[in-house]
């Protein structure tokens, strides 16, 4: 893309992202009001934690006696000033709770994503290269299998095999409790705890990326520029790497961007299985306690992360591939 067009493109994408974030806030607001019962008790967290004085205070604070559009305005202002409400159960602001758990989730989803992308593209490329042979069939069967397996069940089975039976890896938490460690020991400890959850979360996307890479590579391999390269006598291995794989990667990257939300959703299940202390685990705890402000905060936070991630892929894409339409 021409450098002069980039700022305009970024501005348009930024405006679009801002509109999506606004829509999410409105969505949260509507959910609170669609819930059966008094919105104040929803905001307070329903199950008996709130006393009458607190409810009254909430009603005043959110202007629940005012018309609906005034309430929406008050809610918008508070969320956009990063006030996501207060968890009466945990006696902490929701924003603080979410921020505290965010790094663990980013580590888990990042590791899972990197693993899925690297392994998925490799397997997909191998399958495309050996179309119709047994390696291709094996990879197709693996992909079909992970498509059909519930994420949380894969996690439990890995725990069963590697923690319970073989006793190789820890089954829960992010670090060993009650052991004093320094420097690299800490990294090694966290890596051991990370392996099973990241594998669980990554396996499904590995299957997705493998199938996608295989399909797009087969498609690209049929195109004229590949035939030209072959006619020129370019070695087969180089055709595969430089001509086919490179062009097949773009749809895979786009798709990865689209799926960011699913990856975060999946992390709720994986963090629940492995007691990984991220926002997914936070959501599960909030679910058990019916702590709605925290649930709404997690929904808002994950949505914003997806929007940011999509913005990032757009930008990367525009830089990598000069053909991307700036208007798009």
């Amino acid at each position: 893309m021409e450098a002069s067009k980039l700022p305009g493109f970024l501005l348009r994408r930024g405006v679009k992202a801002a509109i999506v974030v606004l829509a999410i806030v409105v969505c949260n607001f509507l959910l609170v009001h669609a819930a059966p019962g008094d919105p104040a008790s929803v905001i307070a967290g329903q199950s008996g934690a709130a006393d009458a004085v607190f409810l009254e205070q909430l009603r005043r604070q959110f202007g629940l006696d005012q018309p609906l559009h005034v309430q929406l305005w008050i809610y918008l202002k508070s969320v956009l000033s990063l006030d996501l409400g207060f968890s009466h159960r945990q006696q902490q602001p929701v924003a603080a709770l979410v921020l505290e758990r965010l790094p663990a989730t980013l580590l888990l989803t990042g590791a899972a994503f990197a693993f899925a992308l690297a392994a998925g593209v490799t397997l997909g490329a191998l399958a495309a290269q050996r179309v119709g042979r047994w390696a291709d069939s094996v990879i197709t069967v693996i992909a079909l299998t992970f498509y059909a397996t519930p994420l949380f069940w894969v996690g439990l089975m890995l725990v069963l095999v590697f923690s319970v039976w073989l006793e190789w890896l820890p089954s829960f938490g992010m670090s060993s409790v009650g052991v004093e460690m320094h420097g690299l020991e800490v990294v090694w400890d966290v890596a051991q705890h990370l392996l099973l959850p990241a594998l669980t979360l990554g396996l499904f996307y590995l299957a997705v990326y493998a199938r996608l890479t295989r399909a797009t590579m087969l498609e690209v391999a049929d195109q004229d520029f590949v035939k030209t390269a072959r006619a020129k006598g370019v070695p087969e291995g180089r055709i595969l790497r430089a001509h086919v794989l490179r062009n097949a990667l773009l749809p895979v990257i786009t798709f990865a961007g689209i799926q960011a939300g699913q990856l975060l959703g999946g992390s709720i299940l994986v963090e629940t299985v492995f007691a990984w202390p991220g926002i997914g685990r936070l959501a599960f705890e909030a679910l058990l306690a019916r702590d709605y402000p925290v649930l709404l905060g997690v929904f808002f936070c994950t949505s914003v992360m997806v929007v940011l991630f999509n913005l990032l892929t757009d930008l990367l894409y525009a830089i990598i591939d000069p053909r991307v339409e700036v208007a798009g």
Binding site: I24, L31, A34, V42, V131, P150, V164, G261, T302, S303
Partner: protein, 281 residues
């Protein structure tokens, strides 16, 4: 019809999928005969391993029969999968038809709306919906439908876009047929095959979604489901592996079968595409 079956049969995986699916349906239909009484009742000693005490798949922490739970759970999984897919189809086809047939501003509005739903993390939204409207089979179906209609809308829109300029549609317009009649009697029947293929995949992902929700404790508290069985086995996996393993196998087989059937339907309904794929693969 005969032709359809001949093409479907050519895909061996799809035939296998259909057999598995029919077996699961048979199990769901005969659950009250195979395992009379409630799956919540105690049937043997707690934590009996599979094969012992006459329990084929073992018992759970309260002595409930895991096999009975799986058989009764099949009813709920299939029911939730089918009903939520129907609801999502209704929303998706309607919106997709409006966007694709009318075009212009209507198309823009509908597609922005669809994009929004595809951006937000659907599983988190589903959790939120079920939690706020209190867990029941109705709220689970509602939540799954809300998060699974966008792909339908996209597919239907694309089909309608390409069909609305075709001659038979123009002919109907010239004849003075109403727009609604054209959409329902002329365009929709021609757009059916991708919708049918998509639905079988949607039932599969609805079953996965339902199991994930019940695993987190968001299932209907009065109904035995596969996800609930796995969830209750999670904390005692060191004691009783069978509690989490077998219900998971049931989910896996059902979802796999539906995916395979989807591929078979795709081959049978788009013979041209299948031949291309056969040549390419």
């Amino acid at each position: 019809m005969k032709d359809f079956w001949r093409r479907y049969r050519r895909n061996k995986g799809a035939v296998l999928g259909l057999v598995i699916l029919l077996l699961v349906m048979l199990m769901a239909a005969t659950a009250p005969l195979l395992f009379p009484g409630s799956p919540w009742d105690m049937a043997g000693a707690p934590f009996s391993p599979p094969g012992e005490m006459g329990m084929l798949l073992g018992t759970d922490s309260l002595g409930r029969d895991v096999a009975a739970g799986i058989a009764h759970g099949a009813r709920i999984s299939l029911l939730v999968g089918a009903v939520s897919t129907l609801a999502a189809l209704l929303v998706g086809v309607t919106l997709g038809a409006i966007a694709g047939y009318l075009g212009g501003i209507a198309d823009d509005v509908v597609m922005r709306f669809t994009e929004f739903f595809q951006t937000i993390p659907s599983f988190v939204l589903a959790i939120l919906l079920v939690a706020i409207f209190t867990p029941s089979i109705g709220s689970v179906v509602f939540a799954i439908a809300v998060v699974s209609w966008p792909p339908v809308a996209r597919v239907v829109r694309a089909e309608f876009l390409s069909l609305r300029g075709r001659e038979f549609v123009q002919a109907a317009e010239v004849l003075g047929k109403s727009r609604l009649a054209i959409v329902v009697t002329d365009i929709l029947p021609n757009a059916l095959s991708p919708i049918v293929v998509l639905s079988s995949l949607m039932v599969a992902s609805a079953i996965l979604l339902e199991s994930a929700l019940s695993f987190l404790g968001l299932g209907d508290p009065n109904l035995m489901t596969w996800g609930f069985l796995i969830g209750s086995g999670r904390s005692v996996i060191r004691l009783a592996w069978w509690m989490s393993v077998f219900p998971g196998v049931a989910i896996f087989l059902t979802v796999l079968a539906l995916n395979l059937v989807g591929e078979g339907l795709s081959d049978a309904l788009n013979p041209r595409l299948a031949r291309q794929r056969g040549a390419g693969a």
